[in-house]
């Protein structure tokens, strides 16, 4: 299959990646090559085969619903781009 620039633009938007028109063109060409490689899968008959999402067939463990983490807000926020009064700052989202 081949991708067009509109497909690439849509995927970039979904992935939250800003891209210039030149970058979209390069990405389109490289992604088309990769999807040509991936297309080899399509010919395989997988009727009746259960999808394998994981190497080990184990179920998720459950634990008691108790507090296990201590509050380390100051430590964690010391590496944040922008904080104020213990809050992470981002551009205003509510008018």
């Amino acid at each position: 299959m081949s991708l067009n620039n509109a497909d690439v633009r849509k995927v970039a938007r979904l992935a939250r990646l800003a891209m210039s028109e030149t970058e979209i063109e390069t990405a389109r060409s490289q992604l088309s090559g990769i999807f040509a490689l991936i297309a080899e899968m399509q010919a395989v008959d997988t009727k009746g085969i259960a999808p394998m999402s994981h190497a080990q067939d184990v179920s998720q463990r459950l634990r008691e619903d108790v507090v296990t983490e201590t509050n380390q807000r100051e430590l964690f926020q010391s590496i944040a781009p922008q904080v104020e009064a213990g809050l992470y700052l981002v551009p205003q989202v509510i008018e």
Partner: protein, 486 residues
């Protein structure tokens, strides 16, 4: 001393022939001298390492040392280590000083090992040449015009160049085994779930597995003993009885059944690699092993399947990097969405963005069944091939990589060519099996060749036995590149 095994170093430390501080300083001096060229390390903190060495020396004096106490070990920069810059090879984490320790780091700290520094890697472990690192490519110490492999290329280079006693790596599609092969060292990817992923920056969670890299199988066994074990903080960590991975090293190989997948010796394999691997198999016959041809008919599909599943998981895992809580934030932006888009566009490199795009696409509405679900079904077929094969053999052997180390820049423009570097390693991750690579000779241009050994689930001790017996009979693993006197 720089060529000594962990066991020899441990004995020297116990006998006070050398102190951990002296040993650590020896490696720090080599790093200071050789790293500017090789670029194997992103971060060293000599004072922090030496402080750990002093603590180790005190432990040695007190008589409560363990096998790794005082041993200087390099950590791949994918492992969060408290107080250490942890970049994962990315600009996105250029300022991320981790506030906590990964499980693997905590295990080495508990064992009294010295953290010698953080090794360079492909950005977010996405690459097979180390050229995608934001911190510049690592050079292959055997020929600095060539790549060390990837993504654990910094660790592989550091071991080959004697810039550490041993190192850690992670392997999602071959990232321990392929650089081990290209740099002429030994590396092991355990069965999925054996080593905790806690604090290991996630790429593709259903495939990622940490493992040791070293100069011999015997060293790998000691390192794996420290790394393996249940951890409740990793939801896929396996609850199993503790095992000693060195327990079978001395066993003779008579009766060992080796399976050779015919698909691994077909078109696409370089002649020099094929010859070195065949010579290694002949050595195994001399050691008493028998050889049987096997088939992994779906293994040729492992590359396309991997390039659906791994990017799909990556696109989800890497959505956490948004410039809000840690890491890179673009200097200028408008609204919140613009801040996300610009921070991610500037913080991620080209290969990482490419994989996020592939993953986003295959998971998007209308394509999920055709790509993601189909890939998961073929993943099962690939795993079943191994189950069938292991009815006829105890271990599987073949080449680790299709060629020896290629030149820097050689595969730069074509992602698909780069992806095919992992054609023999990826199927092992998809199935969740353990695999390793050990040096087995040299190819054209005198570059190292790696022999891949694949074990059945939880067959690490058996693989290590096969590798160690080979290393007793040959000396490929003890060859070192010429790097001049330091």
């Amino acid at each position: 001393m720089i060529n000594a095994s962990i066991k020899q170093l441990s004995a020297a430390l116990a006998a006070k022939t050398i102190s951990s501080v002296e040993l650590t300083q020896l490696y720090l001096d080599r790093i200071a001298s050789l790293n500017p060229e090789l670029n194997a390390y992103i971060t060293v903190q000599p004072e922090v390492s030496l402080a750990q060495a002093r603590v180790a020396d005190a432990r040695l004096v007190a008589g409560n040392a363990e096998a790794l106490t005082g041993i200087p070990i390099a950590q791949k920069d994918i492992f969060c280590a408290k107080g250490w810059l942890t970049t994962c090879g990315s600009k996105m984490l250029h300022n991320f000083v981790s506030p906590y320790d990964a499980h693997v780091i905590a295990r080495f700290n508990d064992a009294g090992a010295v953290n010698l520094g953080k090794t360079n890697m492909d950005e977010f472990a996405m690459g097979s040449s180390n050229e995608t690192s934001h911190y510049g490519p690592v050079k292959n110490p055997w020929d600095q015009a060539r790549v060390p492999g990837g993504s654990s290329g910094g660790s592989a280079c550091a071991i080959a160049a004697r810039l550490c006693a041993a190192a850690t790596g992670t392997d999602t599609g071959g990232s321990i085994r392929q650089p081990a092969s290209l740099c002429g060292i030994s590396g092991l990817k355990p069965t999925y779930g054996v080593v905790s992923r806690y604090g290991m920056i996630a790429f593709a969670s259903s495939l990622d597995q940490a493992g040791p890299m070293a100069r011999s199988a015997e060293d790998l066994a000691l390192l794996l003993n420290a790394m393996a074990g249940f951890d409740e903080r990793d939801s896929t960590s396996l609850q199993r009885d503790k095992e000693d991975y060195a327990r079978d090293l001395a066993k003779p190989l008579s009766g060992l059944r080796i399976g050779l997948p015919k698909e691994f010796f077909a078109e696409g394999l370089s002649g020099d690699v094929a010859q070195a691997v065949e010579t290694a198999i002949a050595e195994y016959r001399k050691l008493g092993a028998t050889v049987v041809e096997i088939s992994l008919p779906n293994s040729k599909l492992s590359v396309p399947v991997y390039y659906v599943l791994a990017p799909a998981e990556a696109s989800s895992n890497l959505s956490r990097f948004d410039g809000v809580r840690y890491g890179y934030r673009a200097p200028e932006y408008g609204d919140l969405a613009d801040m996300y888009e610009k921070s991610r566009a500037q913080g991620f490199g080209a290969e990482v963005k490419r994989r996020i795009m592939i993953g986003t696409y295959v998971l998007s509405h209308g394509y999920y069944d055709a790509y993601y679900l189909q890939a998961q079904k073929i993943r099962r077929l690939i795993a079943q091939d191994f189950t069938e094969a292991f009815k006829q053999c105890d271990v599987i052997m073949g080449p680790t990589a299709p060629s020896t180390a290629f030149k820097l820049g050689e595969k730069g423009d074509d992602p698909v060519q780069m992806y095919l570097s992992d054609i023999y390693t990826i199927a092992v991750n998809l199935a969740g099996l353990p695999g390793m690579s050990i040096p087995c000779g040299f190819g054209v241009n005198n570059m190292p060749v790696g022999l891949q050994i694949i074990g059945n689930y939880f067959g690490e001790a058996r693989m290590l036995n096969a590798a160690h017996q080979y290393q007793l009979a040959t000396d490929w693993h003890s060859r070192a590149p010429q790097l001049g006197q330091v």
